[in-house]
Amino acid sequence: MKVLIVNNMAPFVWGGAEELAANLERNLILAGHQAEILRVPFQWEPAEAIPTQMLMMRAFELWNVDRVIALKFPAYLIRHPHKTLWLVHQYRQAYDLFDAGQTNLPPGEQGEALRSMIREADQQAFAEMRSIYTISDVTKARLARYNGREANVLVPPVNDPERFIGGESQGYVLAAGRVNAMKRQHLLVEAMRYTSPKTKLLVAGPPDSAADADALQRLVDQHDLGDRVKLDLRFLSRDEYAAYVNGAQAVAYVPYDEDALAYVTMEASQAGKALISACDSGGVLGLARHGETGWVAMPHPEALAGVLDQAFADSRRTQAYGDGARERLHAMDINWPSTVGMLLQ
């Protein structure tokens, strides 16, 4: 089958959704299909130009395509008789972020008109879909709440599970993923002020900006944590990253209200590592279960310090949690062959 994945493009920016599309393409091909990605440029600033870009999606003609799998607004507006939605996100600034007062839509009548247009277009597009999946419970709940649409969750699987084989602990908790204020690695660094001397933390991942990296480095210097906190703030190769995961005592991931399970927690679970998370981390909590797959703490340095210490206090219990995490992940049946199968059903 000829399957076209339709996604947005913020020119010269490569992020999670691009990665997801690329992995979907690869796995469609592995499953014996022809697959290609259409990436359509989308600029949401100024908001007044969003409608032209919505119309643009409607104008495109897709010939020689059997199936479309669309991921994002406005890419999913494209016309095709056999569209499946695998929703990464809608235009959140017209939905939950609007309600939260974080929108770029202009105030007053004009903004209202834009919001209504986006919602109507969404409703029409969703009605056109052969089936609707979301990448997370959060996205699913949002879709139900705002659009009255039911959907099944298809969590994006780990792309290279064979790398995450687990292994002997090298005595550190790994805080992985992109480094920025929303991911809150700073909470973990601050927590290290309150931990026992044998607790060690490794923060590894690409900082969004130099300022994000500097902020962490300053915290380490200020509290003189250099001997127990290691920062490796850069883009890591998959091999380097997997080695860090496989050698961790546990993996901490404490973002604020994440939409999805997150690759970091899935990869850690795949490697059989106990998880440390915060109670407001959102989708991550689908895997991070307190007392079952790891620890879920309040998002404060002192509280996190307690669970960091616990990860080292009883290594057998920590390993049991790690095994629990792996079991929980496998029970979810999150893998590419079944995901591709569902999307093409």
Partner: protein, 344 residues
């Protein structure tokens, strides 16, 4: 520099238009530029064309420092620093209008579409900082139909250093998709007239099965089994390099092609002379008779003569192969030149 390479495509159709974009992307990235490839779907049906053109006008690529546009109607994209590497018009509204390939009636409605399209093209061409084309014939069309001057920037092949010349066997190779307008049949028919022990090898995937069947039937008919090898399949880049390294010469016999074609270019990089015909179109920009190959009349006997000459006059064949490689420099067919001009 942040450079967006913009082209249109039909999903799952892979043609020369993609090669030029994707190879350029690699070359630009090797030079340290940040490149975004923007492929947008386009179907040239007259009744659907203008809404797609409007869509192209609405695309915001202001994040790029410059854009380079290829397949039509990508040249409609707006950008303050727009460079066109124009590879063809929507030909049914231009040079194919007065031919059976137009595909719709010559009436007031379609003349209206034609005139509107040409006017929109003119406006888009006028927005470009610089207009390059891939061949003389495309430059001539731009001049004739749009009144636009352009510079020819011949598209090179990818990593041309791969190609080498090892020896000269008895085989003239034709490495190309098998399609009627590429005229593999002409080469087979010529083989029934050759007087020497020259052989031919046709390699490439056939666009439609019936043409490949037709070629096999021709071989049967003229009892050429031992002189003609036909490989109807995808030929890998490595195989291509091998075939060209040892062949006697290469053939490329399309009917009125716009550009010289990658097969003739690859042969030149392997220092092998090229056989083509007078009516091949763009190939004539590259090949001169007796210099870097032979230009035959488009009939089997004339083509057969050329095949025999390759075989008989080995020194001459070798000399023409050397000239074929030199000819690439004369035409400045190189990525160095391409990048220099596109980034000027």
């Amino acid at each position: 520099m942040r450079i967006a390479l913009c082209s249109t495509f039909v999903p799952f159709i892979y043609g020369g238009a993609r090669n030029i974009v994707e190879w350029l992307q690699v070359m630009l990235e090797r030079q340290g530029h940040t490149v975004e490839r923007v492929y947008l779907p386009e179907v040239d049906a007259p009744d659907l064309l203008f809404q797609q053109m409007a869509a192209l006008r609405w695309i915001d690529l202001s994040a790029a420092d410059r854009v380079i546009c290829f397949r039509p109607q990508a040249h409609l994209i707006r950008h303050p620093h727009k460079i066109l590497w124009f590879i063809h018009h929507i030909r049914s509204f231009y040079d194919l209008w007065d031919t059976p390939y137009r595909g719709f009636p010559d009436n007031a409605k379609y003349r209206g579409v034609r005139d509107a399209l040409r006017a929109a093209d003119n406006a888009a061409l006028a927005e470009a900082k610089q207009v390059f084309t891939n061949s003389r014939v495309v430059s001539e069309r731009l001049k004739k139909y749009n009144g636009v001057d352009s510079e020819i920037l011949y598209p090179p092949v990818f990593d041309s250093e791969r190609f080498e010349c090892r020896s000269f066997n008895d085989e003239v190779v034709y490495i190309c998709r098998m399609e009627h307008h590429k005229r593999q049949h002409l080469l087979i028919e010529a083989m029934s007239h050759v007087k020497t022990a020259v052989r031919i090898r046709l390699c490439g995937r056939s666009g439609d099965v019936s043409y490949a069947d037709h070629l096999r039937a021709l071989i049967q008919k003229h009892r050429l089994d031992d002189k003609v090898t036909i490989e109807d399949r995808w030929i890998s880049e490595e195989e291509k390099v091998e075939l060209l390294a040892d062949c006697l010469a290469a053939a490329y016999l399309p009917l009125d092609e716009d550009s010289y074609g990658y097969p003739s270019l690859e042969a030149s990089h392997a220092s092998k002379p090229i056989l083509t015909t007078l009516d091949s179109g763009g190939v004539m920009e590259l090949v001169s008779d007796g210099d870097n190959g032979y230009v035959a009349d488009p009939d089997p006997r004339s083509v057969a003569d050329a095949l025999d000459k390759f075989y008989m006059q080995r020194d001459e064949t070798r000399r023409m192969g050397v000239r074929a490689a030199a000819r690439l420099d004369e035409l400045k067919i190189s990525w160095t030149h391409v990048l220099e001009r596109l980034l000027a």
